[in-house]
Structure formats: C-alpha cells, structure tokens
C-alpha cells in the first residue's frame, strides 16, 4: 500500500508541475460559471432554482468533456513510460506491477476529482452568492460533482486499459480518441437511430436498459437527469423514460463496474507485458 501512495504522490506532483491540475480546474470552472450564469438566464419567472438548470446543462457538458480529459490524462500513462524508459527503472525497484497501475490510477483520479470538485463547486457557490434560491438542488449538485469524478475514473481506467494493450503511444492516442467518439457520440446516435427504425417492435424496455448500461456515459446521464425530481423536469427527452426501470443503486453499480473492470484488465495485461 505504501508503494501505491508513493507513486500516487508522484503522479499528483507531476500533474501540478505540468499544469494539468491547474488547466483542468480552470477549464471546468470557466465552463461551469458560463453555463451557470448564461444558461440559467432563461429560467426567469419559472418556479425553479438556477442550480437545477445548471445541473442539466453542466452534466450534458460533463459527458463530453470529462471523458476526453480523462482519456488524454491516461492513455499515455503506461505505454508512454515504457517508451521513454522510465518504466524499466521503476520496475527495477521493489514495486509490484499492480502497485504501479493502482498508484498512477489514484494519482490521476485525484487530479480529476480535485478539478471537478473545485471547478464545479466554485460555480455552484457563485450561483448561491448571486442570490438565487437553490435549497432543493444542492444535494443533486453535490451528487453530480461526485458522479462526474466517478465518470472521470471510468475513463481513466479505460485509458489505462488502452495504454497497457498497445505497443506505441501514437496508437494509444488514436484508440483513445476513437473510444471517446464511440461512447460520447456514436453510441447514442446509433441507439436513437435504431429505436426510431425499430418503432418499438423488437426492442423491449429491458433491452434498452441493458443497452444504456453498456455505455458509461449513458449511465452517468441517467444518474443525473432522472434520479432527482427537481432536475428531471428539465431533462426532457434525455430522460428517455427507460431510466425509470433502473434504480440509482443499479446505475452506481454499473458505473463502478465500468471503472473496476478495465482497471483489473490493465493490471492483468501489464503483468505479462515486456518492459
């Protein structure tokens, strides 16, 4: 465990040094603030808090941005160190390979978690100070921050899987972008297209539930847009109705599984890898 912490600490320090922490936090804070103040302007007379609206727009943004940041942070983590030669030196120390993967993972997770909590939290705080009444939406907002960090963890883990799978950094980068496009854009487009064509003849609600669980970005969407009444009123189509069949514990479990499975797979792959 000690070794995991040492490697995690080094990853964090690296993140501070090459400005990853600063840049990510600033980016998330800027976008969240923009959405909070511009996006909530139309609420005006509607009887709902600005924060609830912000959750809808911010979680839609998170689905695009957090996976991308997470993959950019992680795709290089293993293959890059092998390439540069720092991995051979690291593994000549009394460190097990799983400790290297976990240490780096927790380091990157800490960077993303920090950026999300500080960046989004800042925006939420600003809204509160601006004087809107959000009493009911705060717990949903905290929940969104937590699940955003979790979504980041999922894609960091997927990035590690890619990083242990391929032989060179360029390939890993290409696959990472492909994975991002697939989960964030193509999957939903194909799913919606399929549903339109099918007209409800073959695809049962159970099947749709399973299909939604197969994409971590959709799991995140369902978690944030349907589990809170205050918010689901605004989510509209994104709610998709199907989410009703999936409890938030199932969804959380699915997200956790999406994080653990790629991580375990990358530990197994890395154990057999030539350095």
């Amino acid at each position: 465990m000690r070794q995991v912490f040492i490697i995690m600490g080094k990853e964090w320090r690296d993140g501070m040094r090459n400005r990853w922490v600063l840049a990510t936090t600033a980016l998330l804070a800027a976008l969240a603030l923009t959405l909070a103040f511009l996006g909530s302007a139309p609420t005006g007379a509607v009887k709902t808090g600005a924060l609830a609206v912000t959750i809808v727009s911010l979680s839609s943004l998170t689905i695009f941005l957090i996976p991308l940041i997470a993959l950019l942070l992680s795709y290089d983590a293993i293959v890059g160190e092998i390439d540069r030669g720092t991995m051979a030196l690291l593994l000549s120390y009394p460190v097990a390979r799983w400790q290297v993967v976990f240490g780096k993972f927790f380091g990157h997770l800490a960077i993303l978690g920090f950026a999300t909590v500080i960046g989004y939290g800042f925006a939420g705080l600003a809204l509160q100070l601006a004087g809107s009444d959000n009493s009911g939406a705060w717990s949903a907002f905290m929940f969104m921050i937590g699940t955003s960090a979790l979504l980041g963890g999922v894609f960091v883990a997927i990035g590690y899987f890619i990083s242990t799978l391929v032989r060179d950094r360029g390939t890993a980068g290409g696959i990472a972008i492909g994975v991002w496009l697939f989960f964030v854009l193509l999957y939903d487009m194909a799913l919606l297209g399929g549903l339109v064509v099918d007209q409800g003849r073959n695809v049962t609600p159970q099947m749709l539930n399973v299909l939604l669980l197969l994409n971590p970005a959709d799991v995140y969407r369902l978690l944030n847009l349907t589990t809170s009444n205050d918010v689901s009123g605004f989510a509209g189509v994104a709610g998709l109705g199907a989410g009703a069949g999936l409890g938030s514990w199932t969804l959380m479990g699915a997200l956790a599984a999406w994080m653990v499975a790629p991580l375990v797979a990358s530990v197994a792959l890395f154990a057999r890898r030539q350095v």
């Binding site: 070794q3 040492i6 690296d14 030196l89 000549s92 120390y93 009394p94 460190v95 030539q274």
Partner: protein
Amino acid sequence: MKHEFVNRDTVVLRAVSRTYGRQLAVDAVDLNLRAGECIGLVGHNGAGKSTMIKMMLGLIRPTRGSVQVFGEDPSAGAAAKARRELGYLPENVALHPSLTGAETLAFYARLKGQPAAGNEALLERVGIAAAADRRVGTYSKGMRQRLGLAQALLGNPRALLLDEPTTGLDPALRQSFYEIIGELRRDGATILLSSHALAELEGQVDRVVVMNRGRKVADGGIPELRSLAAIPPRIRFRADGVEIDKFAGWTTMLDGRLERACAEDEVAAILRELPKSARQIEILRPTLDELYAQFQKGAE
C-alpha cells in the same frame, strides 16, 4: 569450501536463453557474478547485453534456464527483498523531467524504503549537489547520467547492474565514475558494467564476459583473454651491423627492422639472446580492440 564459494555468488545464470519471436537474443548463457567483483559485459549492439541485465532484474523472464539473484528468482513476486539490494542504471537513463534532482532521488529512496537523509550526500558524491533543485528536464546528458548513478547507489546495493554507464560522459567524469565504482567494489559489492568497447574497460574490471549474437564467447581476465585469443606477441628490433643471416625465423621489415612472432613464455628468452647492438626493441601485444575483433571473428 565449495559451499562457502557458492554463497558468495550474488547473481547466477544457468543455461539461460531468451527468444523474441523467432529471434534468439540470449543463447544458453551460464554466468556467475561474485561479491566484490567488477565484471565487464562486452558485445556489439544487439549481442544480448541489455536482455541479460533485464533478466537479472526480473523485468524479462528467461525462455529457458534459470536466473538467481541473492538466491531468489528476481521475476517472482517475492523478489522485493532482492530488488532492495540491487542498483540499476539503464542504458540512456530516462528520468521524469518535471521533478528536480532532489525530488527524483527522494522518490526513488522512498520506493526503496531508504531514509531521505543520505540523499544530499549522495548528490554530493556524484557531483550534482549544486543542481539538486533544478528540474531534471534542464540537465545535460552527463548530469542525468550522474543522477542516474546516484539513484542506483541508493541504499548501498550489494549488486550494481550498469548498462553502458559511461557513454556520453566526458573523460573527467568517467574518471570520477570509476573511482566511485572502485570504492563500491572494495566494500564488497558486485558490479556489472556493460560496454560495447573492450578497450574502455581496461584496468577497471576484474573479469570480462564477451558476448556475440546472444552467446557467451569468452569469460576471464584480460590477460587470460589474451592467451585464449592466441594472437602471439611479436618482437621487433633494429640491429645495425649484424649479420641478418644469423637470425633465422626473423623477417625483415620494410624499414630494415627484424620481427618475429613467438609464444608468450618465449619472450624473455628471445630478448636475452638479442645482440648488444639491438635498438628500438618493441614487444607488440594485440590491443584490446584487436583482441575483441578476434573473439567476434572466432565466434562466427
């Protein structure tokens, strides 16, 4: 007696082979490294030197044969203890550019479970104490190499595996590098130095292991290698006013000097028989480069 001798072996390779796909990188190599010994591992690029070192570190598993470091299999999960006693300097050492020299050393010291208290002295010892608070990314090649050596020395390892440690070092640095190596050897550490030039190792190592295309083609001290290579010494002299006919077996060179090849144990006798008028007497032994070339040729 024998048992005691076995105990002093720090690294033992038994019939170790390693293939990459269909290519044989290391072919049935037996090797013992003992405590207090400095060994040169010499071979051309791709002769299997780095692969052997990586097998000793447990980074690569041998395809056949066994590797033992301090009596343990270095690639086994329980090898953490053995790794604590090893120091490794990779070829073209790569370090994290965003950390400072002191931070780099502190990171590796923590991994090895060493107190950070000795780090400053270590940086002093390799001569980069003044640059300790600068980022490694700003270091020159020689400074990175010294920092690499410093991390290899963490925790006074019982065995040091150094992969081409002196490439890119200027002669003064090389000198101080060998001084450090000498101190460690006196303390009883095993030191393995790989190099692609035999000449560079002269006077620095107790024993040389010559590799060619994955096979061990020679193993011994440099004088032993000389006799193994069987390149005879040659004696030359200028003898003005001496009847050349008296020297049967000698050939006349273009400049008028006489030359003959002989066995090593004949040298003294031949020198004694030279006439008093002999001048410019030279004994020519093969240079280390010639010796090395001979081994590479012989292996083919």
